[in-house]
Symmetry: C2
Subunit: 315 residues, 2 copies
């Protein structure tokens, strides 16, 4: 009788300052997780080497050979196509590169690479707020707005890695400020953490209405904390936020008709009240076939990326 070999997969979530790494069973149990710094010097050329070295040490320590490893998945902050080619990652110093091929060369293990937001979406589907669903949209409300659109369990990468760029849906014809992407009126300009602060700043300037958010630091968190305390001005800002995001997600629903939207990122820490503001306007703008789509909060937080990266090699 042959012995059953323990098998694992690794996930790497490459950020601008740290790389998160995780080791998982095929069933999605996390065995270990750790972080290493992202060395962006020399055009980021040490990043993949550092990942490979870190995974090799982990394998050595646990006395694991290649036979024990299903593969290594990696998410990176830039558009990544189906072949694992990344088209520039400004935060890492990378130009165009086949990161899948490069990481394979270093590890000699099956490797899959994808965009970090797409990978986080996959993580939330696997073991997070989207568990049990196969047609979903994961929206990450952080410094920017990222997204992952999943159809029948697979993330839409797009022909040039530009699938799920929900933050750059055009939503406002009257915007005068320019978005990071160069356009005007992108969803991200109103619904990211910085977007909410921008909405708040505009509203505060409009008149002298009393509000507790006039004192102290203005952040997405202070706005939604004030909403929970019944602050009327903060609630107006939340309505604006909800209308922009609800309208934007109604558009996504017209294209893909998902079962569920999973809302994550730092802003989502505001909790269920966030979903109420989004759903109110979503239902107003959405085509009837998608009217009953559910809204849930993401649950994996900063670990979504390592979960999703590991899941990439299980597909």
């Amino acid at each position: 009788m042959s012995k059953v070999i323990d098998r694992y997969c690794f996930g790497a979530d490459i950020g601008g300052t740290t790389i998160k790494l995780g080791m998982f069973t095929p069933g999605g149990d996390i065995v270990n997780k750790w972080e290493i710094p992202t060395r962006t010097e020399d055009r980021g050329e040490h990043i993949l080497e550092d990942i490979a070295d870190s995974i090799k040490s982990e394998m050595e320590e646990r006395k694991l050979t290649r036979d024990n490893i299903i593969g290594v998945g990696a998410g990176a902050p830039g558009p990544v196509d189906k072949d694992g080619v990344i088209y520039r990652a400004v935060n890492l110093g990378w130009g165009v590169m086949n990161m899948q091929q490069e990481l394979f060369r270093l590890l000699k293990l099956p490797v899959r690479a994808a965009n970090d937001a797409n990978v986080a979406a996959l993580g939330e589907m696997w073991k997070g707020g989207g568990e049990g669903f196969k047609d979903l949209v994961v929206v990450t409300l952080g410094t920017g707005v990222g997204g992952g659109v999943i159809i029948d369990g697979k993330v839409i990468t797009g022909s040039l890695g530009g699938g799920g760029e929900i933050g750059h849906i055009h939503i406002n014809d009257n915007e005068t400020e320019i978005c990071g992407c160069g356009n005007r009126g992108c969803l991200e300009q109103y619904t990211s953490a910085t977007g909410i602060v921008r909405l708040a700043g505009r509203r505060l300037k409009a008149d002298n209405m009393a509000s507790r958010i006039r004192e102290g630091e203005l952040t997405a968190k202070t706005v939604f904390d004030a909403v929970k305390e019944g602050d009327l001005l903060a609630m107006e800002i939340a309505e604006q936020f909800g209308e922009f995001l609800g309208k934007g997600l109604a558009t996504v629903a017209a294209v893909t008709n998902p079962e569920v939207f999973v809302i994550g990122g730092g802003v989502s820490k505001a909790g269920p009240i966030l979903l109420e503001y989004i759903q109110k306007y979503y239902k107003e703008y959405v085509f009837h076939a998608s009217r009953d789509a559910r809204f849930k909060l993401a649950t994996l937080g900063n670990d979504a990326g390592i979960y999703g990266a590991a899941k990439l090699v299980l597909e």
Copy 2:
């Protein structure tokens, strides 16, 4: 040595007045096509029987047995989910029904059913304007605006058959008239054949500017004919049309990042000039990863449905 058996597939495109039928080789050569009337009486209960009978006669005439038939695909005007359940087709008198199962019961052949616009998109990918592409969006500008979003060669059906409902993307906050779907400001209200007539009617009323479209019947065709003749008022309408559609398709691109948009339906008979107006605004609103997506005209016309329906059973 065993004899090679000739194999074929059938496609049925069920419309409100006629059912188009086609017989194809697996390579996509059309062997025969014909039409039968759509009997909408008795809540449309004879429609699938008529299709089954028509296919059986065709098989008999050609001395084909079940072994010769790969399967039968059918497209119907309503939301159809992955299991072939149609959720109401008003034009046919149908309520909720598993049309795939029902047609299988009548034919005892492999059957696949899908939404008619999605099926037409598949046809254009197989043998039409989208041939050679796997990530594409097909937009049908007819009485309404239908769509099919194809990812890696497969149409996005959506969780309840509501995928690719491009005509119901919300595009205008200032609309006062109600769309057929019950919402206000849907893309369809400006870019369908009737939408273009509506845009034209509004523009004509605005002032007394001379235009050849003030005389005779006002249709999408007369508007674009006038555009080609340099009629300034008609060109203004075309700009409006282009801005609405370009902006709407930029939104679709932010979600799926396709290689190509294929524009079909009656309105597309205006030809390449239509694409120019759309692309001008598309480029203005789109996220950079999708900036270079191509725009092509559909080529199969009214046959797109039978091609796509047949292709359903080859997947």
